[in-house]
């Protein structure tokens, strides 16, 4: 530590000492000590007081917005817009049904509706039987669906098709609509079905 302190003191006006930063980046853990020994025999000339590597380019929140598509369980990240169950039924029929089956019953791809996770019967995980958060449905459909043209649905269409899938699962009524305020409030049947893995983090 003494060595580290001395080096830090002698660096000019708070500018990081570059060999140290380099050594930290290159040598994890105990190897750092060995790397420091090499550093100390080199006089602190301009050659060793170079900049720490900083190659990232600043970007504003507005400029990065097209990539900022994650939606948290509290609804953070949900965009403006709105969609109804009825609108979602039309979107589903046109863009989802070929893979997920009529009314989301599945085949050839994943079943979205019904299912079961109670012991003693065959396990069928669906949005209705297993997914803990409705926000996940919006996040996933917007980024990944429909399979052949992901990221092509409007935000209104994503709200609508999410509402329709939740309606098919008996979670929303036939007249329901979803937007950024109502979606995070949807209580999924399996909301409390998860528990953290007991052996991580390690004791």
């Amino acid at each position: 530590m003494c060595l580290l302190d001395r080096l830090a003191c002698r660096s000019a006006l708070g500018k990081p000492v570059s060999p140290l930063a380099f050594a930290r980046a290159c040598f994890p853990g105990q190897a750092l000590a060995a790397a420091l020994m090499v550093v100390t025999v080199v006089p602190l000339t301009s050659a060793t007081a170079a900049d720490e590597p900083h190659f990232g380019k600043p970007i504003t929140a507005q400029e990065l917005a097209p990539w900022d598509i994650s939606v948290g369980p509290d609804g953070a990240g949900l965009p403006p817009g709105k969609g109804t169950v009825a609108q979602g039924e039309a979107v589903f029929a046109a863009k989802c049904q070929a893979c997920h089956g009529e009314k989301g019953q599945g085949r050839p791809n994943d079943r979205l509706v019904g299912g079961n996770i109670a012991p003693g019967q065959p396990t069928v995980k669906t949005v209705g039987s297993y997914w803990p958060y409705a926000t996940t449905l919006f996040d996933y459909v917007r980024r990944a669906m429909p399979w052949d043209r992901p990221k092509s649905l409007s935000d209104d269409e994503v709200y609508a098709v999410a509402a329709y899938v939740l309606y098919l699962n008996g979670i929303l009524g036939q007249d329901a609509a979803l937007d950024a305020q109502s979606l995070p409030k949807v209580k999924m049947p399996n909301r409390d079905g998860f528990t953290p893995f007991p052996r991580w983090p390690p004791k």
């Binding site: 990232g56 990065l64 050839p108 803990p132 996940t136 991580w200």
Partner: protein, 426 residues
């Protein structure tokens, strides 16, 4: 100048049904033991000079390929449930035909949710944003200027060995059961270097990682892992990361389940709580015997498999065989691997092939004198934290058979009198 064989140590039995002492590997010369090692050699055919020794060979090649005689050493995959949506699923590493600890890049297992994207590295960008002092964008050229690190690490799909989550054993081989496992030498930049540059807000506790593929595959992982040993990787086994393994940039979270090692990495969002993405809620969670499911099962726990002998590699009559396999733990180094030829009634320690590295595949070897009768081969690994690979009975007692993911119980190959190996539950 013959060696004085009668003074050499003997290949001693170390466990039931023909498992020999690991002294067999550790000492230079061993005489045949009581079991009659080496007694069966028939005389060789007379030697002829082959054609390839009588004419010049072929010219240089720009990028080498395996011998044309090795055409069976390939990845395998199941036909998709829907032919209209290819690229959803996985291909598997043929571990029964490989040796050593490194998986050739072209045989590394593949897993994709919407196919393999064709990414132009000139246009690829990595964004770091969220709870940071300054959001930053990096080009590949930017990333290539940082100090680099290399480490050898396994990646195992959480769904590997999922075929053993059944009540009845299925007639499958190593590749079909355990092929979602590979190990490479990864080179890139420590993630902590990049996060420090962006400036970590004290409220940040998790990181969302997202891929640039059509599915925008995304996972949340603890910031502590990012600051521990996470890397963003540019190179795999010395060359640029292969497209199906994340070209031009993949996240490496050593020891964590494969899905979290996000390929085609384009975005890291520092957040205060997990995003609860599709792949950390509806998938990659372990449904237990009752209604509850384990979530955030990050590390691959201690595990081993025997790759040889194994189904499809028929034994050629009684005599000496090397039992060889792979052991690994997402929690550190492998400390010991024991092998059994009697279905776990007795075990003896195998030799660990150096180097033995943390969170990397470790090759083990044991000597076996097969008497020609029925046998059940098993391996049991112990890691440096002291965690012991569970028996199937222990594993099923803890979590049942509905988990789908993170199957790591002891696996068994039954050898019948014809020398054929079969997947069994023992």
């Amino acid at each position: 100048m013959g060696r004085r064989r009668k003074e050499a140590p003997r290949a001693e039995p170390a466990a039931g049904n023909g498992i020999l002492s690991r002294r067999f590997f550790l000492e230079r010369t061993l005489a045949a033991g009581a079991a009659g090692l080496g007694a069966s050699a028939a005389a060789a055919e007379p030697l002829a000079v082959p054609p390839w020794s009588r004419e010049p060979g072929s010219d240089f090649t720009a990028y080498g390929q395996p011998s044309r005689f090795e055409g069976k050493v390939v990845r395998s995959w199941a036909a998709p449930a829907n032919p209209a949506t290819p690229g959803i699923g996985s291909s598997r590493t043929p571990h029964h035909l490989l040796d050593g600890m490194i998986t050739p890049s072209g045989l590394h297992y593949e897993r994709s949710h919407s196919g393999v994207p064709d990414i132009d590295p000139e246009q690829h960008r990595l964004l770091i944003h969220g709870l940071v002092r300054q959001p930053l964008v990096f080009s590949l050229e930017d990333l290539s200027r940082y100090p680099r690190v290399s480490r050898i690490a396994f990646i195992e799909c959480a769904g590997n060995s999922g075929a053993l989550y059944t009540a009845q054993a299925q007639p499958l081989n190593v590749q079909a059961i355990h092929g979602l496992l590979s190990c490479s030498d990864w080179t890139g930049v420590k993630l902590s270097t990049l996060l420090d540059e962006a400036g970590i807000d004290p409220r940040a506790k998790w990181v969302l990682a997202e891929g640039a593929d059509a599915s925008g595959m995304s996972r949340s992982f603890p910031l502590a892992k990012a600051l521990d040993d996470a890397m963003v990787c540019l190179y795999q086994n010395g060359e640029r990361v292969r497209p199906s393994n994340g070209y031009p940039l993949r996240l490496l979270l050593p020891g964590f389940e494969g899905n979290m090692n996000v390929k085609w990495l384009r975005r890291l969002n520092l957040v205060d709580a997990p995003i609860m993405t599709k792949d950390e809620t509806s998938k990659y969670t372990i449904l237990l015997k009752e209604d509850k499911a384990w979530q955030f099962v990050f590390p691959i726990e201690v595990k081993s498999i025997i790759t040889r002998p194994s189904p499809g590699l028929t034994l050629k009559g009684p005599g000496f065989y090397e039992i060889s396999g792979l052991a690994w733990s997402g929690n550190g180094r492998i400390r010991q691997v024991d092998v059994s030829a009697d279905g776990g009634q007795s075990f003896a320690p195998a030799v660990l092939q150096e180097p033995v590295l943390p969170k990397a595949l470790t090759r083990f070897r044991a000597a076996w004198q097969w008497g020609g009768g029925p046998a059940v081969l098993q391996s049991r690994a112990i890691d440096e934290t002291g965690m012991v690979q569970p028996s199937r009975a222990q594993f099923v007692a803890e979590r049942g058979l509905r988990g789908n993911f993170h199957y790591n119980a002891i696996a068994s190959w039954r050898i019948d009198q014809a020398g054929e190996a079969t997947n069994v539950f023992a």
